[in-house]
Symmetry: C2
Subunit: 285 residues, 2 copies
């Protein structure tokens, strides 16, 4: 596996691979890789000739009060995992390589970004869209794999690819859970043993709705949101949001919605955790 | 010459050309081509294997009160000019091909865009950066040629390419003037015979400064701006701005500035005209 830190070197390598008609797949990550990430890598490996993982803790998607400085890092372990999963290139640029001191160009999604995580993290998706645009232009992929864990992010990246015509296919891969149900996240590392147990309330609450899918109806949307929220609060979590939207458009659900996204964010201790389920109403009819 | 209106067709053709190791050059235009445009095309022709001209009157760079609806168009004449100048592909998509009804992703330059034309046209460069990003992703060029006539635009596009890492080289080609000195512009078409004569005051005023280059000094910046402004106003023009900045950074000029941009915008009748000169102070030392 080759480790690249320079943008120009990465771009040259990708350009050469393109000329050699290799299919380039990229998996953008912030490192501290876990089974969620490796599932994305494995998915990409199945159809990439050149498999690139990017590792960059992107400062512009953190607000000043957020956890940029304490975000968990383990470069050696990340390298080992990438190597084990057949990654060809790990692109891990330093922050000063990615952002000039007078950086001034931003990519901003202005409709889907205002909800869910974007409501409490207003600059978050601007940072995400900007860095993903940069990574696409640097790695020149045919396709990129994002996780359904970050459901809103995946939708926004798809919208960005559509609206800016990036010649990149976006693949969304399933959310991966720990044995108890907790959604895999690098931020799970922040949880104490007790908090980790309490945090199970998130996936449990979502699971309950998923299991009662036949009973889901627009009219009980409010009740469902309240019940999830209560379940998490009772376990000691501080709920940021519990939201139900059309899973394709993030519009309010209507009788026409066939896929329903139920998403939530809650803080346990120092960890802000997100999770979601998608109900496919058509599949149950 | 091939005329393409579909994004997917253009992107496929460019992708094939890339695989065939052709060097792709693009000249983005809003049509109604004149000698200014053909000079850009000729410049691009010298080093492109595949020369693409894009013709798109981009609605998102016009404010509601501006001249989108009346912007001059002559598709047949544009085709003829492109053919005469050896263009391989004219990419001329309709507006509905370029913007989805729920388009929501924008590329925004936030430092250089606030000055000069950006001050009186606040959404202008957002529209320009967004459409140029789209055109780059659609035509996949190795290089693109922009005119020095739109000096601020050229700087902003260069900044965008740097900050988003577009794998595209930006070439800025010289400003072309009519015989009397008026900067070539599709909007010159709006001028009556008398207005056209009066509008010569813009280039005359700039020329006077250019000719007195040895006398230029930071300390007489204000005096120079006032003199240009007065010259244009006396000829019946309504001055939007006359500005003097460092030509590389658009910062205020300092003793370190070696290239000085003197730029102005003024309205004669229905035509908002822009013009500029660059003083190369080093060249005269």
């Amino acid at each position: 596996m080759r480790i690249i830190k320079k943008i120009s070197e990465m771009q040259d390598l990708s350009r050469q691979a393109r000329l050699a008609r290799k299919r380039i797949g990229v998996v953008p990550t912030m490192g501290f890789l876990h089974a969620g990430h490796t599932s994305l890598i494995d998915r990409a490996r199945t159809e990439a000739d050149l498999l690139i993982v990017t590792l960059f803790v992107n400062p512009t998607q953190f607000a000043p009060h957020e956890d940029l400085d304490t975000y968990p890092r383990d470069f050696e372990q990340d390298c080992k995992l990438c190597e084990d999963h057949g990654v060809d290139v790990l692109f891990a640029p330093p922050a000063e390589e990615m952002y000039h001191p007078d950086h001034s160009v931003w990519v901003n999604e202005e409709k889907l970004s205002g909800k869910l995580c974007g409501a409490s993290r207003p600059a978050f998706f601007r940072g995400v869209c900007t860095v993903v645009s940069k990574l696409f232009n640097i790695t020149l992929p045919d396709f990129a794999v994002f996780g359904q864990k970050d459901a809103q992010q995946a939708l926004i990246i798809k919208r960005m690819v559509r609206d800016l015509n990036f010649p990149v296919e976006i693949i969304t891969a399933p959310l991966i859970r720990e044995e108890g149900g907790l959604a895999m996240s690098s931020r799970n590392r922040y949880l104490s043993r007790e908090e980790r147990l309490n945090a199970l309330s998130i996936s449990q609450a979502l699971k309950q709705v998923e299991n009662h899918i036949v009973e889901f109806h627009i009219n009980n949307k409010q009740k469902i949101m309240e019940s999830i929220s209560k379940h998490i609060t009772n376990a000691g979590g501080i709920v940021d949001y519990v939201s139900i939207y059309d899973a394709e458009t993030l519009d309010d659900i209507s009788e026409k919605s066939s896929k329903i996204l139920i998403a939530c964010a809650a803080t346990f201790g120092k960890a802000r955790l997100i999770d979601n389920v998608v109900l496919d109403l058509d599949a149950d009819k």
